[in-house]
Symmetry: C2
Subunit: 568 residues, 2 copies
């Protein structure tokens, strides 16, 4: 009798396990069960379906060759049984059986297994606020919700919407609403920035400006107290501690929790985040039971702490590893560094590793820089600014994180992906300063922004570059009359000098060596150029003259424009 | 008295050394000399100046803030002396002096140094063929040539052109000629493929098809025997062993040789490629003399062999390291893995590491795969095919090289740059199969092409995937009536079956398990689908039925279309 592998959950990890396992073992009996009829879909595509990039919902559950991935497809093409409308109720580990309920017929049955895979995914959180269960309050978790959201919009029922939670899904949904449909959209976030898990505050401000430029009303540091409406008419408005926002649809995108109760009930160990705990082979505390995807947690390879990271890419890679190991292999998933990217309207952002705040919380002594630079050779016609933040530990000089943003999303991804796979090797700043990435003028500068970020961080660690976060500078400029020394050309600086008078000194870089004596010595000064390197060079000249109270504005005026209205 | 640093050459590495050195040492006396009046330019931008992307030649020697990088700029802004029109004639190492000649005044002088930097670059090779020195036979090496080429074109003097050498510069020049100017352009290459140093033959065919589609006449395996013309009228035609191509301009892009004679004459060691030999600190065999950029050689970090790699990005990174070490630091440049990228019309290509042939020559036992995959989530509207080749050593499973191509050049660069920095760490196939790169549907598939290339190579090494190069298959298909088993849908396969009859069997994947008995067992068969994975899955089914004479066509019909005319 052939071995029986039972897989609970048939969305991302489950199907990957099934397909790979069939390829490496023609004889094993593979059964997947799922509560839902709709299985094996690209959940991360839902915002693009709502936003119109994906015209038909079937596109999210089709192969590249346009085959619908339903139970029949898995049977005929992949050699795996799928039972839909079937929920796992309990795991009887001693008997190696799963109690399942057939939802339509409302009957229970026991399914035997030799090896079991728990791929139960995660469930969007519904905050315990009044009204969270009203009609037209949606989560973004499966194709049923996706269809309901898009149907309501296309019927013209949604004039204004509120999205609660400015993580990746919240931002993508806000974009979908405004970009195609022109819906008045308010995005509400409890934290004082968008993408609080992914980005430092300075980089997040680039995203915030972009969202606002494209018409998204952004409310930060706001807690939703109540959703108003009634069962008949749906939602009417959302109340935060400060204001009431009228709306005809609400999206709850306030994070997810792992579906690990079934595992916990069976006595399997859970981790610190409540996800199923697995070893490097993706085995749970029962060696015949594997788990992965959104329901399982694994180590962050920089902090060493277990994390949850619900991402289709991880589920796919973990699924392959589980299949290998179900078949007697010894493949390993050691963890992840949190590589992440997102499109925000006409801009791409990406990150990997820890934010500065996360690094400090994990016990590091983080030092960071932000650099601005052209994303092609600067003489190339469509060159535009890219921004990169690099974070290292002060003592070990090891890289802890990287964040980037720019109009060419693929180019942004290229920079972060060049660093991300290195992080687990504990590479240091010098490695990044000399990182070998490919170069041609249509795609990069001769000294790539990655290298320059490494150089700037090296300069910071050795004390020659003393910089200030651009948003922190802006606060000081507005509230404390902080003095700017602008080393750009007189033509560029003139309107600023006219507007701000003494607060804005202009000493062009080519005159700087001769005019050092004009610099005030008795107060902190803030060095500015277009993107940062020229003002840094002048900072070095100041230091050689014993003037050490200068701070370089990270990313220069380019960064100011990325996060703030023009200063003139 | 302050230390004197003399730098011979002021194009790429030299200026980088000077600027960085000034930043870290305010007191050192820095002098750069150069034969030319035009210094510090982006030589890699010349094809884009000729092709019109860069309108003005000054764009190639301006900073991002539009300052011209001339001697005055370096003095005022960077604190470095530059003497132009000055050639280094000899190095008197015992006296620490360089004999220089002032070219205009034709007088010699001795310049003392404490530390010397040789940044003499490289010179394009002029093959020893008759006519190579005729007017309108140009090399692409400095702004004078660049201007002469563009002036002749814009005056309408160039109706047809021949470019000799299909390396990066030859291809970029051929594109510049055809794309903007509509010049009839013939690109001649001695090897049987373009980019022979950079790409395997299968990937190079993608570039070749792209060049031909855009009107470049491509002559491979052709040796130029003679350039016809006379001093008065310039060139008339180019003769290869097979044909005569009329032309009014010739570009020699047949490689460069390092300008290392000065170093050799001074008794400094040269390497196996004739470049200046340096250690990891970029010191020559004289510890007071440093060298880098196009005139110096360094180890390929995979083969261990010294190589020359004339690239602006390397010169910049090496320049920073030299400056650090001139100042008493201990920065290291251990070598490079040959990361490279190029735009070819509307396509980007990139590579890192060794080609399969280079790997074999270096003593490895290389195994490679080519995969084709969508460059965005396949349900995303502007998704298009990307192609990736991955090469590993059979025994150690270590990755030796990667090559990629696709319409989104930045996305291609992203994939290669994610692998390139890892190569020197000796990562293996499993590392790439599980490589953590950032994912979102607008920028990638959930299982990225990098991961899938790793998976396919893993499958190849463990024997379950047996594939054939697509171009090799095409030869067998045309010349040996090789039999195709097409597992795509009947609708897709029908026209092929109609045209090729018995030579083209169609068994759709979802019927494959039931129809295995229809497969001929007594001959090799070639498995085809859209991109390769479905036909691989069917190959596995065949193997389970004892049929092992099947070969999977790498990259499927997508790869066929990328290198060949449609088969129907």
């Amino acid at each position: 009798m052939s071995k029986k592998v039972l897989i609970i959950g048939a969305v991302a990890l489950g199907p990957k396990v099934a397909c790979r396992l069939r390829r490496i073992d023609p004889d094993v009996e593979i059964t997947m069960i799922d509560r839902d009829e709709l299985i094996s879909y690209g959940g991360c595509g839902i915002p693009y379906y709502v936003g119109g990039d994906v015209a038909d919902i079937e596109g999210l559950r089709s192969t590249i060759a346009h085959a619908i991935r339903d139970a029949e497809f898995f049977k005929a093409t992949k050699g795996a049984e799928v039972l839909t409308g079937v929920e796992a109720v309990a795991i009887k580990r001693a008997e190696k059986k799963v109690v399942v309920r057939h939802l339509k017929e409302d009957r229970e049955e026991e399914m035997p297994y030799d090896q079991l895979v728990i791929a139960t995914g995660a469930t969007p959180m519904r905050p315990p606020i009044p009204g969270a269960d009203l009609p037209q309050v949606h989560v973004v978790s499966n194709l049923h919700h996706a269809k309901a959201i898009k149907d309501a919009i296309s019927k013209g029922e949604v004039e204004n919407a509120v999205v609660i939670g400015a993580g990746a899904i919240g931002i993508e949904m806000a974009e979908a609403f405004t970009d195609l449909w022109g819906i008045d959209t308010t995005l509400i976030e409890m934290a004082d920035q968008v993408l609080p898990q992914a980005l430092g505050k300075d980089m997040s401000r680039i995203a915030e400006k972009k969202l606002r430029e494209h018409g998204v009303e952004l409310l930060l540091s706001q807690r939703v107290m109540k959703i108003n409406g009634d069962a008949e008419n749906g939602v009417q408005s959302v109340e935060t501690q400060e204001k009431t926002i009228p709306c005809s649809m609400v999206i709850l995108a306030a994070g997810v929790r792992p579906n690990s109760q079934l595992a916990a009930d069976a006595g399997l160990a859970l981790g610190r985040c409540g996800g199923v705990l697995v070893n490097r082979r993706m085995q749970t505390s029962d060696p015949n039971i594997f788990s992965g995807g959104d329901c399982a947690e694994f180590p962050n390879l920089i902090s060493g702490q277990e994390i949850l990271m619900p991402l289709g890419s991880l589920a796919n890679r973990q699924g392959r590893i589980i299949a290998t190991n179900l078949n007697g292999g010894a493949a390993q998933f050691p963890g992840a560094v949190g590589a992440f990217c997102i499109k925000i309207f006409d801009m791409g952002m990406a990150k990997a590793g820890l934010t500065t705040a996360q690094a400090a919380a994990a016990g590091f002594d983080p030092v960071d820089v932000v650099v601005a630079q052209s994303d092609r050779a600067h003489f190339f016609p469509d060159a535009d600014f890219m921004f990169m933040k690099l974070i290292a530990d002060r003592k070990s000089r090891k890289i802890l994180g990287v964040e980037a943003a720019g109009p060419q999303g693929d180019a942004v991804k290229a920079r972060v992906d060049a660093v991300a796979p290195l992080l687990k090797f504990g590479v240091d700043v010098d490695e990044i300063a000399n990182l070998e990435v490919s170069y041609a003028p249509p795609y990069a500068s001769a000294m790539d922004i990655v290298n320059n970020a490494g150089n700037a961080l090296d300069n910071t660690l050795n004390g020659s570059l003393k910089s200030i976060d651009t948003w922190e500078f802006l606060e000081k400029f507005k509230n404390e009359n902080a003095r700017v020394v602008d080393v750009r050309s007189t033509v560029q600086a003139e309107p600023f000098v006219e507007k701000y008078g003494d607060q804005w000194l202009n000493i062009p870089q080519d005159e700087f060596r001769k005019r050092v004596n004009e610099i005030p010595k008795d107060e902190p000064i803030y060095m500015l150029c277009g993107t940062g390197p020229r003002s840094y060079e002048c900072q070095v000249i100041l230091a050689a003259h014993g003037i050490t109270n200068s701070f370089n504005i990270q990313g220069g005026y380019g960064m100011i424009l990325a996060i703030h209205e023009p200063l003139v």
